[in-house]
């Protein structure tokens, strides 16, 4: 099955694009070609690893926006059976709209797939992550956005031994409906991605003051601090502190989930934790069964004591 991986190196995502291109092709999709879109001229060309026998197209455009990418893919890269994108705002949109334009089929946030001769079998979470559905797609081309489970970031680098082809698209400006455009930096999730010890607060924090208090206790414990979606949406903490499907997928050695109900969309963000400790008033909250260890009751006096012990421990060392 002729497969193309499409990546957006955009204005700041080169590392991610390189990583996903490298690992994806070498280990997961050995027969796929890759198209990498990036902006010019402010940036250097992305350095892409190319495994033997494979081809990468580096496509330099004035603006990496879905309309431009869709036009280029349909005009120049229309011969593939399977198009793969990393799940996200860009990947989901281009996958679905490309399939619609090419009369194919699509799925987003696919956790696993198997491509046969006449169909592609995909698994993805549904019912807010409580269930996993299996779909069979036989309307080609099939366009999939793959969750980090199916297209993980690369660890390490390798030599470029395949073929790099460059396509320069300098003539395409912004789509007509966009009158002005500016890029605003997104605050980094910072320590969350690589945290070894994580404290996550949920709706149980009740307000911004509750979140600030828990964050201070997390600092005392030497832990990174994140929040669940309801807490982020309620404005208790900035959005870049969000843990879960639409935020950071963390994999700490230890995670304390305080006042978090444990909905699947949140749990995806901590499911790779070594040990999960739940602190919750509600003994029937879903997080209790998903934790290794649980304390039933108000988390506040417990985390306050934990922070105090940590401070004393530090002082005595």
């Amino acid at each position: 099955m002729k497969t193309l991986i499409v990546l957006n190196a955009g204005t700041g995502g080169q590392d991610q694009a390189q990583g996903r291109a490298g690992q994806s092709r070498e280990h997961l999709f050995p027969l796929a070609d890759t198209a990498v879109f990036y902006t010019a001229p402010a940036q250097q060309d992305p350095v892409i690893q190319v495994p033997p026998g494979q081809t990468t197209w580096q496509i330099r455009v004035q603006h990496v926006n879905p309309e431009t990418v869709l036009d280029i893919l349909t005009e120049r890269f229309g011969e593939y059976d399977l198009y793969l994108f990393p799940a996200g705002v860009f990947g989901d949109e281009v996958a679905v709209r490309l399939a619609a334009r090419m009369n194919g089929s699509a799925l987003v946030n696919v956790a696993a797939f198997e491509a046969g001769v006449h169909k592609v079998c995909c698994k993805k979470p549904v019912y807010s992550g409580y269930m996993q559905a299996t779909f069979e797609l036989d309307r080609f081309p099939v366009c999939l956005s793959l969750s980090p489970k199916a297209m993980p970031p690369l660890q390490g680098n390798g030599p470029a031994t395949g073929q790099i082809r460059e396509v320069y698209e300098t003539g395409r400006a912004l789509p007509g409906h966009i009158l002005k455009q500016a890029i605003e930096a997104r605050p980094s999730s910072g320590d969350l991605d690589a945290a070894d010890f994580l404290v996550v607060g949920g709706n149980g924090m009740e307000n911004r003051a509750g979140a600030e208090a828990l964050k201070k206790e997390a600092d005392d414990l030497g832990a990174a601090f994140g929040v669940s979606r309801p807490a982020a949406m309620g404005g208790f903490a900035p959005l870049h502190r969000l843990i879960g499907v639409s935020g950071t997928l963390a994999s700490p050695r230890i995670c304390i989930a305080a006042g978090v109900s444990g909905a699947p969309a949140f749990f995806s963000g901590i499911e790779n934790s070594g040990m999960i400790i739940a602190l919750n008033m509600d003994s029937t909250a879903p997080i209790i069964n998903k934790a290794d260890l649980a304390v039933i009751g108000d988390y506040r006096p417990v985390t306050a004591e934990l922070a105090r012990i940590a401070r004393e421990d530090k002082k005595n060392r």
């Binding site: 957006n8 549904v126 996993q132 605003e184 050695r253 290794d292 006096p301």
Partner: protein
């Protein structure tokens, strides 16, 4: 500016117990016994439309707000609530098709209604629970041949018939001024819970009748856009769930601290 907000209600899935997560022979899970709530992303879309209307009013221009949902009469209390929040029209498309995993049918139903009416802006959530398809805004833009801004987090009126839109773009935010017509999907937008109508407004505006339009599921041609559902299984994340009991918070914390240190 004529604004249409498309929304859906979703069952409160966290109320289902572990035993409830069983698919029947038609690959359906019975969620009918739990209450439904607004899909969170759609709730943000509804509130953002109300704020756009408020801001337009302050600058001397006017917005006409229409709310639309697809489904049976169980959605009517939500539509009445939107009337009470001063939406100008509340519309329900009645269609008995299983729309859980059919975003193309949903998008075609919406596109059909939009093409018969005049709107400048369509707002809808980027994704909805149950199907979690995350495709309807993209397909709607394609079927209408309208431009799209996806995962908006903030919208304001700009000059004339244009909008200022801040949207999530994976590693950064895009801040754009965009012309209409335009489809905008709403992403994670903090502090966008929908306001609550006053009792006075409920009595004064909430009693208008809802426009109900019977619809047949449109033909989608050669197979389903997102394939055929062949299996549905419960995802199980169960761990030990050992309950730690201490004589006091101090005692519990001391035990926890030891465990943390042993496992760090």
């Amino acid at each position: 500016m004529n604004i249409l907000v498309c929304f859906k209600t979703v069952p409160e899935l966290e109320r289902l117990t572990r035993e409830d997560w069983v698919a029947d022979s038609h690959l359906r899970v019975d969620t009918g016994f739990v209450t439904a709530d607004l899909n969170p992303y759609d709730e943000s879309a509804l509130e953002m439309a109300l704020r756009l209307s408020d801001q337009s009013g302050e600058s001397g221009t006017s917005c006409t707000l229409t709310a639309l949902t697809i489904g049976d009469s169980s959605r009517d209390p939500w539509l009445k609530k939107l009337y009470a929040l001063k939406f100008d029209r509340a519309v329900r498309l009645e269609c008995d098709a299983d729309l859980r995993f059919s975003p193309e049918v949903t998008a075609r139903l919406l596109a059909g209604y939009i093409q018969e009416n005049r709107f400048d802006v369509i707002l809808l959530g980027c994704q909805g629970g149950v199907g979690d398809n995350g495709m309807t805004p993209f397909l709607l833009a394609e079927y209408l041949a309208w431009p799209l801004i996806s995962h908006a987090v903030e919208i304001r009126p700009a000059s004339g018939n244009t909008l200022w839109v801040k949207s999530d773009a994976d590693d950064e935010f895009l801040v754009q001024e965009a012309g209409t017509p335009l489809v905008i999907s709403i992403g994670d937008s903090p502090n966008s819970y929908m306001r609550i109508p006053t009792l006075k407004d409920k009595l004064e505006y909430g009693r208008r009748s809802i426009e109900v339009l019977q619809q047949k599921a449109p033909e989608t041609g050669n197979g389903n856009f997102c394939g055929t559902l062949v299996d549905l299984e419960r995802l199980d994340y169960t761990r030990k769930g050992h309950i730690l009991k201490g004589a006091s918070p101090r005692d519990t914390a001391a035990q926890l601290y030891r465990i943390i240190k042993e496992n760090q």
